[in-house]
Symmetry: C2
Subunit: 116 residues, 2 copies
């Protein structure tokens, strides 16, 4: 992942509303949710919801599929994994010893060789 992509993804997640949408769709899993369901679940009016869904989709954090007159949205977990990888590299770059092999709350990666 490059810096520009990372910035766009961060922007997408840097909003309580969009973070709620994303987390809801992660929970919804492979089935995903249609716009009306998301709106009802989170109490967001349609136009505003469209605005945020567009942002998340343009950032590729969401994937959309048309089903008749419904739009079904799903979370793009692959991109989330890429983001985690990017942060891990950022976090470790040049200084892996600061990032690993110590008491960490992350519960992630501690036992692995850091990325180059």
């Amino acid at each position: 992942m490059d810096k520009i992509t990372a910035t766009i993804v961060f922007e997408s997640l840097a909003s309580g509303v969009r973070l709620d949408i994303f987390r809801l769709l992660v929970k919804a899993g492979e089935e995903g949710l249609v716009v009306g369901e998301i709106g009802r679940a989170l109490g967001i009016p349609p136009t505003n919801l469209s605005f945020h869904l567009k942002a998340l989709t343009q950032a590729r954090l969401l994937v959309v599929e048309q089903q008749g007159r419904f739009q079904r949205y799903r979370a793009n977990l692959a991109l989330m994994r890429e983001l985690i990888a990017y942060l891990t590299e950022e976090c470790c770059s040049g200084h892996p010893e600061q990032c690993f092999d110590q008491d960490s709350e992350s519960g992630c990666c501690d036992t692995q060789t850091p990325l180059s």
Copy 2:
């Protein structure tokens, strides 16, 4: 990490300028850098730099130490680890099979049991 903290951290990283600052300070390591050095390295004028450093510090992504009339900033890698842990949980919540045990570019966590 809670949702509010995560949002604040994402906001901090959702700016090319701030992402540059953070990455520079990760590279700088334990020694950190003083404001003038950061400004010269990235070509950011002092007042604007102060603005972004304040945002990053309030988000706790940076830690600052006064040294005479200099302010030395360092990256807070512990918080970055917490963020990675949060994203990992988000990413896996309820659907670990989508997040792990498959071809992943992340190179991270794949061999581990996902978080609850």
